[in-house]
């Protein structure tokens, strides 16, 4: 096997895989955003879990374990020969936190999609990334007929600090999604600047 080693090793360069998380409440446009910027049709995989083993409190009293699957979709952007960026849409349901932990591990940063019809549905995501110290931006995804909020109103409602960028977005528009991601990465680079206080 040792002799075949050099032959079986792929000739092509192997890029590093990095990720950005797209979070937000149920139906906030996560999958739409991933699809808008991904170079592939978003792929979907699922996770299977035994509910009772995750301390789910809203099914208290159940003695049997039930199995649930949760869809996880992701897209891909080839940055250059060395880097491939994966975008992961989080499962919308809040109880799948364990999955967020793994998703957040090593992520470059996160986009929290705020749905203006139900701003409160992204509170959990904001909390989560703040606690985990994952840098994030809030992208306000406007749905037709919903209230038009100003940035300060959103900032106040979500109670995020002044450094966290809040941008308007339309998850269906590629350019808009690009801008959101550029804003995020710029924010992450800025935050890692050694001159920052703290």
């Amino acid at each position: 096997m040792a002799s075949a080693d050099s032959e079986t090793r792929p000739q092509e360069a192997i890029p590093q895989a990095v990720k950005i998380i797209i979070a937000g409440g149920f139906g906030a446009g996560k999958t739409t955003l991933v699809a808008s910027v991904s170079e592939i049709t978003p792929l979907s995989t699922e996770e299977v879990m035994t509910e009772a083993s995750y301390g789910v409190d809203d099914i208290g009293g159940v003695e049997h374990k039930t199995t649930t699957t949760v869809a996880l979709d992701f897209g891909r952007i080839t940055i250059n020969h060395d880097i491939v960026l994966y975008l992961f849409g989080t499962p919308g349901q809040n109880r799948f936190w364990f999955m967020w932990d793994e998703l957040a591990e090593g992520a470059l940063g996160a986009v929290v999609l705020a749905d203006t019809r139900r701003l409160d549905t992204c509170f959990h995501a904001v909390d989560f990334f703040e606690r985990r110290g994952v840098p994030f931006v809030v992208a306000v995804n406007r749905f037709e007929g919903s209230t038009v909020y100003r940035e300060e109103e959103v900032r106040e409602a979500l109670d995020v600090s002044a450094e966290v960028p809040i941008v308007l977005a339309d998850a269906r528009e590629r350019e808009s999604c690009k801008e959101v991601l550029v804003e995020l990465v710029t924010h992450v680079i800025r935050g890692r600047d050694p001159v920052m206080s703290g």
Partner: protein
């Protein structure tokens, strides 16, 4: 990506090397479609080799995550019919793939694929492959920014 070395390995792997997959009956390596035999084998083959669907974040998978890169170190062997999910993973890993891509391509939950991949790395069927040119965090961020801007 077939090489003589790989074929040699395949031939040597007539019975899987260090697996729990000991033949329960002597003649079961060939699938001759006897219903009774199949009933006997299937639960064994599917559950014995591969960590179950519930093995989501077990410590035995430490080090293998969704974005771990792996590549096939051999072609599927004859015994693989017992474990079609392994065959599918080998087929899709001819080029370096991330665990999550493999999961999507073979249509299995990512936690399960992660477990199977960890086992396959351990038995030499898959090889981990690091990036060819590892970059620091800051270099990655600047490259990603430039890449996104030029999309």
């Amino acid at each position: 990506m077939r090489t003589d070395g790989v074929h040699g390995h395949e031939a040597a792997a007539d019975g899987p090397p260090e697996e729990t997959l000991r033949d329960p009956v002597p003649n079961t390596r060939r699938h001759d479609g006897e219903p009774g035999e199949e009933r006997f084998l299937r639960p064994f083959a599917v559950t014995a080799g591969d960590p179950g669907a519930h093995a989501v974040l077990g410590p035995e998978h430490a080090g293998v995550d969704m974005l771990s890169l792996v590549v096939a170190a051999r072609v599927p062997g004859r015994h693989e019919w017992l474990r079609p999910e392994r065959e599918a993973i080998l087929d899709h890993a001819l080029r370096a793939r991330t665990v999550v891509e493999l999961a999507a391509e073979v249509g299995l939950p990512v936690g399960q694929v992660r477990g199977i991949v960890a086992a396959m790395i351990a038995d030499g069927s898959l090889q981990r492959c690091g990036p060819s040119r590892p970059l620091g965090r800051q270099d990655i961020l600047h490259a990603v920014l430039a890449g996104l801007c030029s999309l």
